[in-house]
Protein backbone atom coordinates (compact mmCIF):
# COMPACT_ATOMS: atom_id res chain seq x y z
CA UNK A 1 0.00 0.00 0.00
CA UNK A 2 1.51 3.28 -0.99
CA UNK A 3 1.03 6.32 1.14
CA UNK A 4 -1.88 8.46 0.22
CA UNK A 5 -0.80 11.19 -2.14
CA UNK A 6 -2.05 14.56 -1.02
CA UNK A 7 -3.11 16.76 -3.87
CA UNK A 8 -4.44 20.26 -4.22
CA UNK A 9 -7.62 21.41 -5.92
CA UNK A 10 -6.07 21.71 -9.35
CA UNK A 11 -4.49 18.31 -9.47
CA UNK A 12 -3.04 17.45 -12.83
CA UNK A 13 -2.88 13.87 -13.97
CA UNK A 14 0.61 12.45 -13.97
CA UNK A 15 1.27 9.55 -16.24
CA UNK A 16 3.02 7.48 -13.62
CA UNK A 17 -0.11 7.07 -11.46
CA UNK A 18 -2.32 4.32 -12.78
CA UNK A 19 -5.49 2.55 -11.69
CA UNK A 20 -4.91 -0.99 -12.86
CA UNK A 21 -5.43 -4.69 -12.31
CA UNK A 22 -2.69 -6.65 -10.55
CA UNK A 23 -1.93 -8.41 -13.81
CA UNK A 24 -1.16 -5.04 -15.37
CA UNK A 25 1.04 -4.10 -12.40
CA UNK A 26 2.98 -7.30 -13.11
CA UNK A 27 3.35 -6.32 -16.77
CA UNK A 28 4.57 -2.84 -15.81
CA UNK A 29 7.09 -4.40 -13.42
CA UNK A 30 8.34 -6.79 -16.09
CA UNK A 31 8.78 -3.92 -18.56
CA UNK A 32 10.61 -1.87 -15.93
CA UNK A 33 12.93 -4.83 -15.30
CA UNK A 34 13.73 -5.04 -19.01
CA UNK A 35 11.67 -7.97 -20.30
CA UNK A 36 12.07 -8.35 -24.04
CA UNK A 37 10.59 -11.78 -24.70
CA UNK A 38 7.31 -13.36 -23.61
CA UNK A 39 5.83 -16.65 -24.77
CA UNK A 40 2.57 -17.84 -23.34
CA UNK A 41 -0.76 -19.54 -23.71
CA UNK A 42 -3.44 -17.33 -22.16
CA UNK A 43 -5.43 -18.75 -19.26
CA UNK A 44 -7.80 -17.15 -16.76
CA UNK A 45 -7.02 -15.47 -14.40
CA UNK A 46 -3.62 -14.58 -15.90
CA UNK A 47 -4.85 -13.66 -19.39
CA UNK A 48 -4.38 -9.90 -19.07
CA UNK A 49 -0.62 -10.40 -18.66
CA UNK A 50 -0.35 -12.01 -22.11
CA UNK A 51 -2.88 -9.59 -23.61
CA UNK A 52 -1.04 -6.49 -22.42
CA UNK A 53 2.41 -7.76 -23.32
CA UNK A 54 1.20 -8.64 -26.82
CA UNK A 55 0.73 -4.88 -27.26
CA UNK A 56 3.53 -3.47 -25.13
CA UNK A 57 6.44 -5.73 -26.09
CA UNK A 58 6.35 -5.07 -29.86
CA UNK A 59 6.14 -1.33 -29.11
CA UNK A 60 9.56 -1.49 -27.45
CA UNK A 61 11.10 -3.85 -29.98
CA UNK A 62 10.57 -7.00 -27.92
CA UNK A 63 8.94 -10.23 -29.00
CA UNK A 64 5.59 -11.69 -27.96
CA UNK A 65 4.65 -15.18 -29.10
CA UNK A 66 1.40 -16.96 -28.37
CA UNK A 67 2.53 -20.60 -28.46
CA UNK A 68 0.46 -23.71 -29.10
CA UNK A 69 0.39 -24.61 -25.40
CA UNK A 70 1.99 -24.04 -22.01
CA UNK A 71 4.74 -26.63 -22.55
CA UNK A 72 5.92 -24.90 -25.70
CA UNK A 73 5.67 -21.51 -23.98
CA UNK A 74 8.01 -22.63 -21.22
CA UNK A 75 10.46 -24.12 -23.72
CA UNK A 76 10.37 -20.95 -25.83
CA UNK A 77 11.31 -18.68 -22.94
CA UNK A 78 14.16 -21.01 -21.97
CA UNK A 79 15.55 -20.81 -25.50
CA UNK A 80 15.11 -17.05 -25.69
CA UNK A 81 16.79 -16.56 -22.32
CA UNK A 82 19.80 -18.56 -23.49
CA UNK A 83 20.19 -16.19 -26.42
CA UNK A 84 20.44 -13.28 -24.00
CA UNK A 85 16.89 -12.03 -23.46
CA UNK A 86 15.02 -11.28 -20.27
CA UNK A 87 12.02 -13.59 -20.43
CA UNK A 88 8.72 -14.36 -18.74
CA UNK A 89 5.67 -16.56 -19.19
CA UNK A 90 2.36 -16.37 -17.32
CA UNK A 91 -0.22 -19.02 -16.53
CA UNK A 92 -2.53 -20.43 -13.89
CA UNK A 93 -2.64 -23.79 -12.05
CA UNK A 94 -3.44 -26.14 -14.96
CA UNK A 95 -0.90 -24.47 -17.22
CA UNK A 96 1.65 -24.38 -14.42
CA UNK A 97 1.33 -28.17 -14.17
CA UNK A 98 2.19 -28.46 -17.86
CA UNK A 99 5.27 -26.28 -17.48
CA UNK A 100 6.84 -28.40 -14.76
CA UNK A 101 9.05 -30.66 -16.88
CA UNK A 102 10.63 -27.73 -18.70
CA UNK A 103 10.86 -25.81 -15.44
CA UNK A 104 13.09 -28.61 -14.16
CA UNK A 105 15.20 -28.27 -17.30
CA UNK A 106 15.64 -24.56 -16.53
CA UNK A 107 16.73 -25.47 -12.97
CA UNK A 108 19.24 -28.02 -14.27
CA UNK A 109 20.60 -25.94 -17.13
CA UNK A 110 20.52 -22.80 -14.94
CA UNK A 111 18.46 -20.60 -17.24
CA UNK A 112 17.21 -17.27 -15.84
CA UNK A 113 13.43 -16.97 -16.39
CA UNK A 114 10.31 -15.73 -14.64
CA UNK A 115 7.15 -17.84 -14.47
CA UNK A 116 3.95 -16.18 -13.24
CA UNK A 117 1.24 -18.40 -11.73
CA UNK A 118 -1.95 -16.43 -11.02
CA UNK A 119 -3.56 -19.05 -8.80
CA UNK A 120 -7.15 -20.17 -9.24
CA UNK A 121 -9.20 -22.99 -7.70
CA UNK A 122 -7.88 -26.51 -8.32
CA UNK A 123 -6.98 -29.32 -8.79
CA UNK A 124 -7.50 -29.74 -12.53
CA UNK A 125 -9.49 -27.04 -14.33
CA UNK A 126 -11.04 -26.35 -10.92
CA UNK A 127 -12.43 -22.87 -10.80
CA UNK A 128 -11.05 -20.54 -13.45
CA UNK A 129 -12.57 -17.25 -12.27
CA UNK A 130 -12.18 -17.63 -8.53
CA UNK A 131 -9.42 -17.33 -6.01
CA UNK A 132 -7.24 -19.97 -4.36
CA UNK A 133 -3.70 -20.26 -3.06
CA UNK A 134 -3.35 -23.98 -3.66
CA UNK A 135 -0.17 -23.98 -5.75
CA UNK A 136 2.31 -23.32 -2.93
CA UNK A 137 3.69 -26.85 -3.05
CA UNK A 138 3.39 -27.13 -6.83
CA UNK A 139 5.77 -24.17 -7.02
CA UNK A 140 8.16 -26.01 -4.71
CA UNK A 141 7.93 -29.61 -5.85
CA UNK A 142 6.02 -29.53 -9.13
CA UNK A 143 9.06 -30.59 -11.09
CA UNK A 144 10.82 -33.81 -10.18
CA UNK A 145 14.17 -34.42 -8.58
CA UNK A 146 16.08 -32.55 -5.91
CA UNK A 147 16.23 -28.88 -6.73
CA UNK A 148 15.88 -25.45 -5.17
CA UNK A 149 13.47 -22.80 -6.39
CA UNK A 150 12.62 -19.18 -5.67
CA UNK A 151 8.93 -18.25 -5.35
CA UNK A 152 7.74 -14.72 -4.54
CA UNK A 153 4.34 -13.15 -3.97
CA UNK A 154 2.67 -9.83 -3.09
CA UNK A 155 -0.57 -8.49 -1.65
CA UNK A 156 -1.00 -5.12 -3.37
CA UNK A 157 -0.23 -3.66 -6.75
CA UNK A 158 2.75 -1.53 -5.74
CA UNK A 159 4.32 -4.65 -4.28
CA UNK A 160 3.31 -6.74 -7.33
CA UNK A 161 5.26 -4.25 -9.43
CA UNK A 162 8.32 -4.28 -7.20
CA UNK A 163 8.37 -8.03 -6.60
CA UNK A 164 8.16 -8.61 -10.36
CA UNK A 165 11.25 -6.44 -10.81
CA UNK A 166 12.84 -8.44 -7.99
CA UNK A 167 11.95 -11.72 -9.70
CA UNK A 168 13.88 -10.72 -12.82
CA UNK A 169 16.81 -9.59 -10.69
CA UNK A 170 16.96 -12.82 -8.69
CA UNK A 171 16.62 -14.93 -11.86
CA UNK A 172 19.70 -13.21 -13.30
CA UNK A 173 21.66 -13.20 -10.03
CA UNK A 174 21.21 -16.90 -9.31
CA UNK A 175 20.68 -18.17 -12.88
CA UNK A 176 17.42 -19.83 -11.92
CA UNK A 177 13.71 -19.86 -12.70
CA UNK A 178 11.78 -17.59 -10.33
CA UNK A 179 8.07 -18.24 -9.72
CA UNK A 180 5.66 -15.36 -9.09
CA UNK A 181 2.74 -16.80 -7.10
CA UNK A 182 -0.10 -14.33 -7.44
CA UNK A 183 -3.79 -15.18 -7.08
CA UNK A 184 -7.07 -14.33 -8.80
CA UNK A 185 -7.99 -11.50 -6.42
CA UNK A 186 -4.62 -9.81 -6.87
CA UNK A 187 -4.64 -10.44 -10.62
CA UNK A 188 -8.11 -9.04 -11.29
CA UNK A 189 -8.61 -6.40 -8.59
CA UNK A 190 -7.93 -2.82 -9.60
CA UNK A 191 -6.08 -0.34 -7.39
CA UNK A 192 -3.50 2.39 -7.51
CA UNK A 193 -0.04 1.84 -8.93
CA UNK A 194 2.66 4.49 -9.00
CA UNK A 195 5.33 3.60 -11.51
CA UNK A 196 8.76 4.59 -10.17
CA UNK A 197 11.16 6.64 -12.27
CA UNK A 198 13.65 4.54 -14.22
CA UNK A 199 16.73 4.06 -12.05
CA UNK A 200 14.85 4.21 -8.74
CA UNK A 201 14.72 0.43 -8.40
CA UNK A 202 17.92 -1.53 -9.02
CA UNK A 203 18.00 -3.71 -12.13
CA UNK A 204 20.30 -6.73 -12.45
CA UNK A 205 21.39 -7.26 -16.02
CA UNK A 206 22.72 -10.43 -17.60
CA UNK A 207 26.23 -11.32 -16.44
CA UNK A 208 28.04 -12.09 -19.69
CA UNK A 209 31.40 -13.79 -20.04
CA UNK A 210 34.52 -11.76 -20.74
CA UNK A 211 36.03 -14.71 -22.63
CA UNK A 212 36.92 -13.53 -26.13
CA UNK A 213 35.57 -15.04 -29.31
CA UNK A 214 37.58 -18.07 -30.39
CA UNK A 215 38.79 -18.76 -26.84
CA UNK A 216 37.34 -21.75 -24.95
CA UNK A 217 34.31 -20.74 -22.88
CA UNK A 218 33.14 -23.01 -20.05
CA UNK A 219 29.44 -22.33 -19.53
CA UNK A 220 29.31 -24.11 -16.16
CA UNK A 221 32.63 -23.02 -14.65
CA UNK A 222 31.79 -20.72 -11.74
CA UNK A 223 33.73 -17.54 -11.04
CA UNK A 224 35.30 -17.08 -7.63
CA UNK A 225 32.06 -15.57 -6.32
CA UNK A 226 30.11 -18.64 -7.47
CA UNK A 227 28.30 -16.91 -10.34
CA UNK A 228 28.30 -18.35 -13.85
CA UNK A 229 28.81 -15.77 -16.63
CA UNK A 230 26.70 -16.55 -19.69
CA UNK A 231 27.38 -16.29 -23.40
CA UNK A 232 24.47 -15.54 -25.72
CA UNK A 233 23.70 -18.86 -27.38
CA UNK A 234 24.30 -18.75 -31.12
CA UNK A 235 26.76 -15.90 -30.63
CA UNK A 236 30.51 -15.96 -30.09
CA UNK A 237 30.94 -19.30 -28.36
CA UNK A 238 29.88 -22.85 -29.12
CA UNK A 239 28.76 -24.84 -26.12
CA UNK A 240 26.34 -27.52 -25.05
CA UNK A 241 23.23 -27.21 -22.89
CA UNK A 242 21.48 -30.28 -21.52
CA UNK A 243 19.02 -31.46 -18.90
CA UNK A 244 21.42 -34.31 -18.11
CA UNK A 245 23.96 -33.96 -15.33
CA UNK A 246 26.82 -32.15 -16.99
CA UNK A 247 30.42 -31.01 -16.57
CA UNK A 248 31.79 -27.48 -16.87
CA UNK A 249 31.62 -27.66 -20.68
CA UNK A 250 27.92 -28.50 -20.47
CA UNK A 251 28.43 -32.03 -21.79
CA UNK A 252 26.64 -34.98 -20.16
CA UNK A 253 28.47 -36.74 -17.38
CA UNK A 254 27.64 -39.58 -15.01
CA UNK A 255 30.86 -39.23 -13.07
CA UNK A 256 29.69 -39.49 -9.40
CA UNK A 257 31.80 -36.52 -8.35
CA UNK A 258 30.38 -34.33 -11.12
CA UNK A 259 26.82 -35.43 -10.32
CA UNK A 260 27.18 -34.81 -6.59
CA UNK A 261 28.87 -31.45 -6.99
CA UNK A 262 26.34 -30.20 -9.53
CA UNK A 263 23.35 -31.14 -7.37
CA UNK A 264 24.97 -29.47 -4.37
CA UNK A 265 25.63 -26.38 -6.47
CA UNK A 266 22.02 -26.18 -7.72
CA UNK A 267 20.62 -26.33 -4.19
CA UNK A 268 23.33 -24.45 -2.30
CA UNK A 269 23.30 -21.40 -4.58
CA UNK A 270 19.75 -20.71 -3.39
CA UNK A 271 19.58 -22.25 0.09
CA UNK A 272 22.84 -20.63 1.21
CA UNK A 273 21.45 -17.27 0.12
CA UNK A 274 18.00 -17.72 1.69
CA UNK A 275 18.63 -14.69 3.93
CA UNK A 276 19.30 -12.50 0.89
CA UNK A 277 16.27 -13.85 -0.97
CA UNK A 278 13.84 -13.52 1.96
CA UNK A 279 11.28 -10.74 1.45
CA UNK A 280 8.59 -9.81 3.94
CA UNK A 281 6.61 -6.99 5.54
CA UNK A 282 5.58 -6.40 9.12
CA UNK A 283 2.21 -4.89 10.02
CA UNK A 284 1.47 -4.04 13.68
CA UNK A 285 3.89 -6.80 14.66
CA UNK A 286 5.67 -5.02 17.53
CA UNK A 287 4.81 -6.72 20.81
CA UNK A 288 2.17 -8.85 19.10
CA UNK A 289 0.74 -11.66 21.23
CA UNK A 290 -1.09 -13.10 18.26
CA UNK A 291 0.89 -13.29 15.04
CA UNK A 292 -0.98 -13.75 11.77
CA UNK A 293 1.19 -15.11 8.95
CA UNK A 294 -0.18 -14.54 5.48
CA UNK A 295 0.68 -13.66 1.87
CA UNK A 296 -1.02 -12.57 -1.33
CA UNK A 297 -4.65 -11.46 -1.21
CA UNK A 298 -5.38 -13.21 2.10
CA UNK A 299 -2.77 -10.96 3.74
CA UNK A 300 -5.05 -8.00 2.98
CA UNK A 301 -7.76 -9.53 5.16
CA UNK A 302 -5.21 -10.32 7.89
CA UNK A 303 -3.88 -6.74 7.90
CA UNK A 304 -7.45 -5.38 7.92
CA UNK A 305 -8.20 -7.46 11.01
CA UNK A 306 -4.94 -6.61 12.79
CA UNK A 307 -5.51 -2.86 12.29
CA UNK A 308 -9.05 -3.27 13.59
CA UNK A 309 -7.93 -5.26 16.67
CA UNK A 310 -5.06 -2.86 17.47
CA UNK A 311 -7.57 -0.01 17.52
CA UNK A 312 -9.29 -1.97 20.29
CA UNK A 313 -6.04 -2.48 22.17
CA UNK A 314 -5.51 -6.14 21.26
CA UNK A 315 -1.95 -7.07 20.40
CA UNK A 316 -2.45 -8.64 16.98
CA UNK A 317 0.08 -8.28 14.17
CA UNK A 318 0.80 -9.63 10.72
CA UNK A 319 3.96 -11.13 9.25
CA UNK A 320 3.38 -10.86 5.50
CA UNK A 321 5.57 -13.24 3.53
CA UNK A 322 6.66 -11.99 0.12
CA UNK A 323 9.04 -14.88 -0.48
CA UNK A 324 7.58 -18.36 -0.01
CA UNK A 325 10.48 -20.44 -1.34
CA UNK A 326 13.10 -20.84 -0.02
CA UNK A 327 10.85 -20.82 3.04
CA UNK A 328 12.03 -18.03 5.40
CA UNK A 329 12.50 -20.37 8.37
CA UNK A 330 14.77 -18.15 10.47
CA UNK A 331 12.47 -15.15 10.01
CA UNK A 332 9.33 -17.07 10.95
CA UNK A 333 10.99 -18.64 13.99
CA UNK A 334 12.19 -15.25 15.22
CA UNK A 335 8.90 -13.39 14.68
CA UNK A 336 6.81 -16.13 16.30
CA UNK A 337 9.10 -16.72 19.30
CA UNK A 338 7.06 -14.62 21.75
CA UNK A 339 3.61 -15.20 20.30
CA UNK A 340 0.87 -16.79 22.39
CA UNK A 341 -0.51 -18.20 19.15
CA UNK A 342 0.33 -18.07 15.46
CA UNK A 343 -2.47 -18.10 12.89
CA UNK A 344 -1.57 -18.86 9.29
CA UNK A 345 -4.12 -17.20 7.00
CA UNK A 346 -4.28 -18.77 3.56
CA UNK A 347 -6.72 -20.11 0.99
CA UNK A 348 -5.72 -23.78 0.88
CA UNK A 349 -5.67 -26.70 3.31
CA UNK A 350 -2.61 -25.45 5.18
CA UNK A 351 0.33 -25.61 2.80
CA UNK A 352 2.26 -22.72 4.40
CA UNK A 353 0.94 -23.70 7.84
CA UNK A 354 2.87 -26.98 7.57
CA UNK A 355 6.07 -25.05 6.87
CA UNK A 356 5.41 -22.73 9.80
CA UNK A 357 4.78 -25.67 12.13
CA UNK A 358 8.06 -27.20 10.98
CA UNK A 359 10.16 -24.20 11.95
CA UNK A 360 8.65 -22.72 15.11
CA UNK A 361 9.66 -23.82 18.60
CA UNK A 362 6.15 -24.89 19.58
CA UNK A 363 4.12 -26.25 16.63
CA UNK A 364 1.06 -26.83 18.81
CA UNK A 365 0.44 -23.08 19.02
CA UNK A 366 0.14 -22.76 15.21
CA UNK A 367 -3.42 -22.59 13.84
CA UNK A 368 -4.93 -22.38 10.38
CA UNK A 369 -7.49 -19.77 9.30
CA UNK A 370 -8.40 -20.82 5.79
CA UNK A 371 -11.10 -20.65 3.21
CA UNK A 372 -11.34 -23.10 0.33
CA UNK A 373 -14.71 -22.19 -1.21
CA UNK A 374 -13.56 -19.83 -4.02
CA UNK A 375 -14.12 -16.78 -1.86
CA UNK A 376 -11.56 -14.36 -0.51
CA UNK A 377 -11.18 -15.03 3.22
CA UNK A 378 -12.76 -12.18 5.20
CA UNK A 379 -11.42 -10.39 8.28
CA UNK A 380 -14.45 -11.81 10.13
CA UNK A 381 -13.44 -15.37 9.20
CA UNK A 382 -10.05 -14.78 10.84
CA UNK A 383 -11.59 -13.00 13.82
CA UNK A 384 -13.82 -16.01 14.53
CA UNK A 385 -10.78 -18.26 14.91
CA UNK A 386 -8.84 -15.64 16.84
CA UNK A 387 -11.63 -15.33 19.40
CA UNK A 388 -11.78 -19.09 19.85
CA UNK A 389 -8.04 -19.22 20.47
CA UNK A 390 -8.33 -16.34 22.90
CA UNK A 391 -11.01 -18.30 24.74
CA UNK A 392 -13.54 -15.54 24.17
CA UNK A 393 -16.16 -17.48 22.23
CA UNK A 394 -17.48 -16.66 18.79
Amino acid sequence: MTDNIKTDENVIKTNNIKFVQGNEACVEGALYAGINFFAGYPITPSTEIAELLSKRLPEKGGKFIQMEDEIASMCAIIGASLTGHKVMTATSGPGFSLKQEALGYACMAEIPCVVVDVQRGGPSTGNPTHVSQGDIYQARWGTHGDHAIIALTASNHQDVFEITVDAFNLAETYRTPVILLFDEVIGHMREKLVIPEQGKLPIVDRLRTSVKKGVDYHPYLPREDGRLPMSDFGGEHRYNVTGLFHDMWGFPSNNPKVVRELLHHLIDKIDNNAHAITRYKEHYLEGAEYVLISYGSSARSAIHLAKNRRERGEKVGVLELQSIWPFPEALVREKCANAKAVIVVEMNMGQVMKEVKACVDNPSKVFLANRIDNKLITPTNIKTLLRMIQGRGV
Partner: protein
Amino acid sequence: MKRTRFVFSGSGGQGVITAAIILAEAAVIYEGMNATQTQSYGAAARGGATKSDVIISDQPIYYPEVNQANILVCLTQEAYINYSSIIRPGGLVLTDSKFVITTKKVDAKQIEVPMYDSVMEKIKKPIVFNICMLGALLGITEFVKPTSVMEVIKSNVPKDFIEMNQNAFELGMELGAQYNH
Protein backbone atom coordinates in the same frame (compact mmCIF):
# COMPACT_ATOMS: atom_id res chain seq x y z
CA MET B 1 -13.20 11.68 2.11
CA LYS B 2 -13.69 9.01 4.68
CA ARG B 3 -13.99 5.40 3.65
CA THR B 4 -17.01 4.91 1.38
CA ARG B 5 -18.12 1.52 0.10
CA PHE B 6 -20.10 1.24 -3.13
CA VAL B 7 -21.82 -1.72 -4.74
CA PHE B 8 -22.90 -1.42 -8.38
CA SER B 9 -25.24 -4.18 -9.54
CA GLY B 10 -27.25 -4.97 -12.61
CA SER B 11 -27.20 -7.10 -15.69
CA GLY B 12 -24.33 -7.87 -18.09
CA GLY B 13 -24.14 -5.25 -20.83
CA GLN B 14 -25.59 -2.39 -18.79
CA GLY B 15 -22.11 -1.12 -18.04
CA VAL B 16 -22.24 -1.27 -14.25
CA ILE B 17 -18.69 -2.58 -14.03
CA THR B 18 -17.39 0.08 -16.42
CA ALA B 19 -19.12 2.76 -14.33
CA ALA B 20 -17.57 1.36 -11.16
CA ILE B 21 -14.09 1.45 -12.70
CA ILE B 22 -14.56 5.02 -13.96
CA LEU B 23 -15.60 6.26 -10.51
CA ALA B 24 -12.69 4.55 -8.74
CA GLU B 25 -10.18 5.64 -11.37
CA ALA B 26 -11.35 9.26 -11.06
CA ALA B 27 -10.78 9.12 -7.29
CA VAL B 28 -7.28 7.66 -7.66
CA ILE B 29 -5.88 9.57 -10.61
CA TYR B 30 -7.46 13.00 -10.21
CA GLU B 31 -8.15 13.31 -6.49
CA GLY B 32 -5.21 11.54 -4.87
CA MET B 33 -7.41 9.04 -3.07
CA ASN B 34 -6.98 5.31 -2.64
CA ALA B 35 -9.54 3.04 -4.25
CA THR B 36 -10.08 -0.63 -4.98
CA GLN B 37 -12.44 -2.18 -7.49
CA THR B 38 -13.40 -5.84 -7.62
CA GLN B 39 -16.13 -7.59 -9.54
CA SER B 40 -17.90 -10.89 -9.88
CA TYR B 41 -16.35 -12.83 -12.73
CA GLY B 42 -18.49 -15.13 -14.79
CA ALA B 43 -20.22 -15.59 -18.13
CA ALA B 44 -22.23 -12.42 -17.61
CA ALA B 45 -21.04 -10.33 -20.54
CA ARG B 46 -24.56 -10.41 -21.97
CA GLY B 47 -27.47 -10.86 -19.65
CA GLY B 48 -26.25 -12.49 -16.45
CA ALA B 49 -26.19 -10.78 -13.07
CA THR B 50 -23.11 -8.59 -12.53
CA LYS B 51 -21.80 -6.82 -9.46
CA SER B 52 -18.83 -4.62 -8.78
CA ASP B 53 -17.49 -3.42 -5.43
CA VAL B 54 -15.66 -0.11 -5.05
CA ILE B 55 -14.03 1.28 -1.91
CA ILE B 56 -12.75 4.86 -1.90
CA SER B 57 -10.76 6.19 1.05
CA ASP B 58 -7.99 8.59 1.96
CA GLN B 59 -6.50 5.75 4.02
CA PRO B 60 -4.94 2.49 2.77
CA ILE B 61 -7.53 -0.13 1.81
CA TYR B 62 -6.80 -3.73 2.69
CA TYR B 63 -9.80 -6.10 2.44
CA PRO B 64 -11.19 -5.01 -0.95
CA GLU B 65 -14.67 -6.52 -1.00
CA VAL B 66 -17.84 -4.84 0.25
CA ASN B 67 -20.01 -6.79 2.68
CA GLN B 68 -21.94 -3.74 3.84
CA ALA B 69 -22.42 -0.89 1.39
CA ASN B 70 -22.83 2.83 2.04
CA ILE B 71 -24.04 3.25 -1.51
CA LEU B 72 -25.91 0.60 -3.48
CA VAL B 73 -26.85 1.00 -7.13
CA CYS B 74 -29.31 -1.53 -8.61
CA LEU B 75 -30.21 -1.47 -12.27
CA THR B 76 -32.35 -4.65 -12.31
CA GLN B 77 -35.03 -6.05 -10.05
CA GLU B 78 -32.93 -9.20 -9.53
CA ALA B 79 -29.99 -7.11 -8.32
CA TYR B 80 -32.28 -5.14 -6.00
CA ILE B 81 -33.75 -8.32 -4.49
CA ASN B 82 -30.30 -9.88 -4.04
CA TYR B 83 -28.40 -6.92 -2.64
CA SER B 84 -30.80 -4.53 -0.91
CA SER B 85 -30.06 -6.24 2.41
CA ILE B 86 -26.36 -5.25 2.36
CA ILE B 87 -27.05 -1.53 2.63
CA ARG B 88 -25.67 0.17 5.78
CA PRO B 89 -28.12 2.07 7.99
CA GLY B 90 -28.27 5.63 6.69
CA GLY B 91 -26.97 4.61 3.31
CA LEU B 92 -28.27 5.34 -0.15
CA VAL B 93 -29.96 2.97 -2.60
CA LEU B 94 -30.13 4.30 -6.16
CA THR B 95 -32.38 2.42 -8.59
CA ASP B 96 -33.70 2.96 -12.09
CA SER B 97 -37.45 3.50 -12.05
CA LYS B 98 -38.01 1.56 -15.27
CA PHE B 99 -36.27 -1.63 -14.14
CA VAL B 100 -36.73 -1.70 -10.36
CA ILE B 101 -39.74 -1.52 -8.05
CA THR B 102 -38.43 -0.77 -4.57
CA THR B 103 -40.39 -3.34 -2.61
CA LYS B 104 -38.04 -3.71 0.35
CA LYS B 105 -38.11 -1.71 3.54
CA VAL B 106 -34.50 -0.77 4.29
CA ASP B 107 -32.97 1.58 6.86
CA ALA B 108 -31.60 3.78 4.10
CA LYS B 109 -32.71 6.39 1.65
CA GLN B 110 -34.10 4.80 -1.52
CA ILE B 111 -34.06 6.98 -4.59
CA GLU B 112 -35.72 5.92 -7.83
CA VAL B 113 -34.56 7.94 -10.82
CA PRO B 114 -35.91 7.60 -14.38
CA MET B 115 -32.39 7.32 -15.80
CA TYR B 116 -33.08 4.82 -18.58
CA ASP B 117 -36.21 6.57 -19.85
CA SER B 118 -34.46 9.95 -19.80
CA VAL B 119 -31.48 8.59 -21.75
CA MET B 120 -33.79 7.03 -24.35
CA GLU B 121 -35.83 10.22 -24.65
CA LYS B 122 -32.96 12.74 -24.82
CA ILE B 123 -30.02 10.78 -26.25
CA LYS B 124 -31.71 7.73 -27.76
CA LYS B 125 -28.70 5.44 -27.12
CA PRO B 126 -28.96 2.91 -24.27
CA ILE B 127 -25.15 2.50 -24.31
CA VAL B 128 -24.72 5.62 -22.14
CA PHE B 129 -27.23 4.49 -19.49
CA ASN B 130 -24.33 3.70 -17.13
CA ILE B 131 -22.76 7.14 -17.56
CA CYS B 132 -26.12 8.76 -16.85
CA MET B 133 -26.31 6.63 -13.68
CA LEU B 134 -22.85 7.84 -12.64
CA GLY B 135 -24.00 11.43 -13.25
CA ALA B 136 -27.12 10.86 -11.14
CA LEU B 137 -25.04 9.42 -8.32
CA LEU B 138 -22.73 12.44 -8.28
CA GLY B 139 -25.76 14.74 -8.63
CA ILE B 140 -27.11 13.27 -5.40
CA THR B 141 -23.79 13.42 -3.53
CA GLU B 142 -20.47 14.63 -4.92
CA PHE B 143 -18.29 11.67 -3.96
CA VAL B 144 -15.69 12.82 -6.47
CA LYS B 145 -15.66 15.94 -8.59
CA PRO B 146 -17.69 15.62 -11.80
CA THR B 147 -14.73 17.05 -13.76
CA SER B 148 -12.56 14.16 -12.54
CA VAL B 149 -15.08 11.64 -13.85
CA MET B 150 -15.33 13.45 -17.18
CA GLU B 151 -11.53 13.38 -17.51
CA VAL B 152 -11.55 9.60 -17.04
CA ILE B 153 -14.37 9.21 -19.55
CA LYS B 154 -12.45 11.33 -22.07
CA SER B 155 -9.35 9.18 -21.73
CA ASN B 156 -11.28 5.91 -22.08
CA VAL B 157 -13.92 6.64 -24.71
CA PRO B 158 -13.33 6.97 -28.49
CA LYS B 159 -13.19 10.64 -29.54
CA ASP B 160 -16.44 10.59 -31.49
CA PHE B 161 -18.38 9.33 -28.47
CA ILE B 162 -17.14 11.80 -25.86
CA GLU B 163 -19.90 14.33 -26.51
CA MET B 164 -22.63 11.70 -26.19
CA ASN B 165 -21.14 10.51 -22.90
CA GLN B 166 -20.82 14.08 -21.65
CA ASN B 167 -24.49 14.71 -22.45
CA ALA B 168 -25.53 11.54 -20.63
CA PHE B 169 -23.38 12.47 -17.65
CA GLU B 170 -24.85 15.96 -17.44
CA LEU B 171 -28.36 14.58 -17.87
CA GLY B 172 -27.73 12.28 -14.93
CA MET B 173 -26.33 15.15 -12.84
CA GLU B 174 -29.51 17.15 -13.42
CA LEU B 175 -31.72 14.19 -12.51
CA GLY B 176 -29.70 13.42 -9.39
CA ALA B 177 -29.54 17.05 -8.21
CA GLN B 178 -33.27 16.91 -7.46
CA TYR B 179 -32.58 14.37 -4.73
CA ASN B 180 -29.60 16.04 -3.06
CA HIS B 181 -28.55 13.65 -0.29
